[in-house]
Symmetry: D2
Subunit: 383 residues, 4 copies
């Protein structure tokens, strides 16, 4: 696919996601980890403007210098920016103004992409596509948080096609032999810098489940007092449970004794067969511990991933997010993309029901702090 | 004026104020004291629905029971409500939905007011008008905060008619004799319960300035190191200055050595002759102390107020907000209107450039915490 | 009494109070408002060294310049100091070292006082005595907090003579006529600057109780749900109750259904006839409100105080702590004594069971923030 | 060595460490991570009482049931306890009382150890020795913090024998070949559960420095602006630097342009040749990044540790603290020893100048949060 077509497809997909929103939904930030949708659509546009148009498109006229301040996410190299907790305090630029900005940049990009494109820029373009796809996933989860924390529980889109997650999968754990395995990206396509270098790891023999833990199974953990028994939890997880009075996954509501959860269709009765989601690493660990099992490492996951289905939930692993041997940050602002987050976070593997098609792969490494729940996280067990 | 006409006038004035806003401006809450404009327009509507229509209009059908939760401000009597810091996290109900709610209630009110209205309800109606007028003033100051804290400094309305505040007023202090003075509301019109009962106070001889402190005068205080010299400040005020790194009134910006301030027209050069505004009680006190003078008490203010012009700034007094002798809270939710705030706040007297016409009077008592600055506060000196 | 004798008496009284302590009791600071006893005994010594010896005793050799940093309380004029929350983090100087410092200063003072003493210094000496007496009271209440918050509930001194507070007092309210009253100190003896100037106030007719509210009466308030009913509370008091889960006065413990409280003798059954104590202003106000009565103003209290017994409890008044007409701060550090605290505090009148004999008087004004409870506060009702 | 002799040696070593303290030094807790020395000496005693005497010594009479509440550290299994931040708020039990408790338990232990000791108890005894040795190290670092944060900078012990750390070590990095290495404890002696199981890891070829980074080298980092350049830091580390205004290692003081640091002898000029210490993981990482190098993983460290000297500093590694394959918590309270901390901490390897002799070994895994600096941490580089 040529760059222009790919560019247009990616950009349109973002707009499609937002097409179900009311103007007001674009504006709010109910918790620091969630960004207002209008910030996302401005930020991904700013990314192309800052890293492609301004350095490489001769004669390009910056749309509005203030937008650098408003839409920079975390690139210290690129200068000051609105502090993260203030994103939801900005009524301006308005949604319409940001769509105008988008249109202006899109037209410039289409002009630019008609010309000769160097390999260096091509690589940046592909990074830009993947970057925008990551924000598409964040848009979906941030929108869910915004609407799902509103006391009126509005639906995002009643026609939203939820994937079928209730297929029967064998309960038999997959056995993997002890030995040396190669981990990390190889091949011609795109990967993020954190998937490199491909390297050897030694794994002990292990077993891994072909299926994700379901809501029904997780409910057993709740009903057997899992949230009240410190023995299953890390000390830090136990503090988190008590401080935040956590008693169930995010979006679960016990209404008159019956469990419901909020979905893109609004509040619904809990689907018992669906894989549990919106749980923190602390909860994933506690569940596994209660079961007498454990979470896989990211290496165990990758070495076995061709043998099971994945892609419904981002799966918490026991691995901390660390650089692979030989990892090196890129120079300049792009070097801030991944490396500076490699501390006090856990790796998640797989993909989720809201990951853009084709965005993930077996070597893909997602990462979040251990207390976060607003992504479509899930649990796969190992032993 | 009959009740229907008055009702329509008040309601239209609120809508006129909001007519200059973009949808996004209705949504955000950049600081806890500021409420989103859409919350204000819903809340004043809920006030009429809750205190007039539901108890007194037979057959009235509540618009949406969830709105009670969304638009209750602080009436414990009326039940649970969105916590104040969450008002800016709600994208729904949308602005359009709230205007529909407004319309529904307005139509019901107009129907109701065609019937016979008891004196008790009439009193509540007049309280409702005054309540909505208070929110009109808050709307103006909250909108100023929302736009004035946006990095793009958008104007509210470039045609907004700012009052002329640069008239020359005599510098001679007004002398008032020692003696007994009567304080508090008397007469037939409306007053809030906190203006009652009218009672005697004994005042020592004092002098009070006929004019407000100007920006030029306040600038002298800044330039002479007023914000760096603890001797002018209360201990608590000095902590506030240091913790918040306060160096000037709210909305003042020193750009390349020149003072500007944000107004409804956007960022402008500071008007030196205008009365200083957006200062906390701590600053008002420190300024007076630096001058070797003091703030008047609310009684001194009221006893002399016929002898000077007022109405441009809410004027900080030295008086704490306390009940007058014989003050009694009304029964029920209306009793929560004023009394429960009578601790750790200071009285302000007068009115401001955004007070609705006819809303204030010489006995009117406004009140705020000592650190707040987003109202059009000002300084009048006494000795 | 001559100055030396008075000096020695005051100093010995402080040491007597501390004679029941273990070394460890001198060190800790379980809450910011409480200072470690060793800090108190150093600070009152530093007061004489700083304000008498250093400026007025020629040839006086400062004991240790670092102690200025360690023992300054809040005098910005005198320079930097250990931040208040760090007082309990300092193991050095040790108790023995501080007593050596005390001895050194005492010897110097006794030498100094043998010479001619100017009226100016005499005044400072008397301020120093009163200052140390205030710290004697704080020592008693801080020690109570330190021991009373220890899980072992050690007694301070089992032989401590608690005053008899169970005398029967008439229930009949005292009636006071409307009119002008003179308020503030007059006479030859010592008073603090905040008791001046004597001035006239106009009081409406009122009634005031000759007795303090007892534990038995306060228990009725608790048992009737007083801590669960928002209607009795200020909005800020209600937040305080809920945030801190307050359910009874400080030091009350419900053990197996029976109320106990911690006293200088250790944990004891609650004395029902004793006046309630260790309640915040918020609680005093709520109790009065529940009774359908109110707290007196400080002026009402002073105008009637010859007609009832006082001195067992510091009594919360409805008055905010504000300057009297004509109040002026003294120049220099001594000017920081009172004036800079005149905001957001309430006046208490009377004295308490741990006030040094002769320290208080009818015009004495104590003051604390509305949430504080570690003093021997109490409730007298008015209407 | 028999158990009694070993017991007595360990116990005496603890008391020797405390013999240089004043009573007051035993009491304070200037930061949450530091425990008061009196708490340490009570807690290690409670450990023997709770895990040996109470379950295994028939007829043993518990010293004081309240001490379980006071001296339990983090064992949820054993019941409630003083919250960690309150340890420094307890003046009682006094130091003398705790030494009496110590003596009582020591006598009981000596009686107990005269009898037949099962293998199970023997293992617990050895755990108790190692536990007390860990607290000896903490005592040394907590005492340093207590005295080193006192404005008087008292010495702990002027005769304290600081190890010679200025021996010249080669600058040549040690090269290690790619391949499979065995990691984890093997042999007969004691190890903690977190050192098991011994297992294979695959390492890429790497180089590791035979020497620790010195103060002189770290000073170059400071002088070249290392604390002002975000590029060397993790995002979370950069936040930490800015929030806490960190500009140098803990205990460093720039006095009139010359660097000093606090040691057990008091404030001294910085020893340039000594290995840098009291730095956080964030700083260790930033230093390595500034050098264009990196920290070793704990596996790289262990595989090479026979080829260099270690034992002066706890050395930060790049490895997160995670369970080894096959790790299982012990049942009961002892199972809370290590496992529940295996999240969001980094592994340190080696030992420090205050580690008790014989306490550490090549497979020993220490662990701390990434921001902590009060241990004798250091930096060894790898590439």
């Amino acid at each position: 696919m040529d760059l222009i077509t790919r560019y247009q497809e990616v950009r349109r997909r973002t707009e499609k996601i937002c097409s179900y929103l009311q103007t007001e939904d674009y504006v709010v930030q109910p918790v620091v980890d969630v960004s207002p949708p209008k910030w996302h659509i401005g930020h991904v546009t700013w990314f192309f403007e800052t890293f492609i148009l301004k350095p490489y498109f001769m004669g390009y006229q910056e749309y509005n210098p203030d937008y650098n301040y408003v839409f920079n996410s975390y690139y210290e190299t690129v200068g000051n920016r609105v502090i993260r907790t203030d994103r939801g305090n900005l009524s301006r630029p308005t949604v319409i103004e940001i769509y105008s900005y988008r249109k202006y940049v899109d037209e410039a990009m289409e002009g630019f992409l008609c010309g000769e494109i160097s390999d260096e820029v091509k690589e940046l373009m592909i990074l830009g596509f993947n970057h925008e796809e990551q924000h598409q996933e964040l848009l979906m989860t941030d929108i869910k948080y915004i609407l799902g924390h509103n006391p009126l529980f509005p639906a995002y889109n009643r026609a939203h096609a939820a994937p079928d997650m209730e297929k029967v999968v064998s309960d038999d754990f997959i056995s993997v032999n002890e030995g040396i395995y190669e981990i990390g990206f190889t091949g011609d396509g795109f990967c993020f810098d954190n998937e490199l270098n491909r390297h050897k790891v030694y794994l002990n023999a292990y077993q891994i489940s072909p299926k994700l833990v379901t809501n029904a199974e997780y409910l057993e953990f709740i009903n057997s007092g899992g949230y009240q028994d410190f023995r299953h939890w890390h000390a830090e997880g136990w503090d988190w449970v008590k401080t935040n009075k956590v008693e169930a996954p995010l979006y679960w509501h016990n209404i008159d004794g019956e469990w419901h959860n909020y979905t893109y269709h609004g509040l619904e009765q809990l689907h018992l067969k669906a894989p549990v989601t919106h749980i923190s690493y602390f909860e994933a660990y506690a569940y596994a511990s209660w079961k007498g099992l454990r979470l896989p490492t990211e290496f165990e996951w990758e070495a076995a991933a061709t043998q099971f289905n994945w892609g419904q939930r981002w799966e918490w692993t026991e691995s901390s997010y660390l650089p692979y041997p030989g990892f090196a940050k890129a120079p300049g602002a792009i070097g801030e993309y991944n490396g500076k987050f490699m501390v006090n976070q856990k790796v998640l593997r797989g993909a989720s029901e809201v990951t853009p098609p084709g965005h993930s792969r077996i070597t893909y490494r997602n990462f979040f702090q251990t207390n976060l729940r607003w992504q479509f996280t899930g649990i796969r067990l190992a032993k």
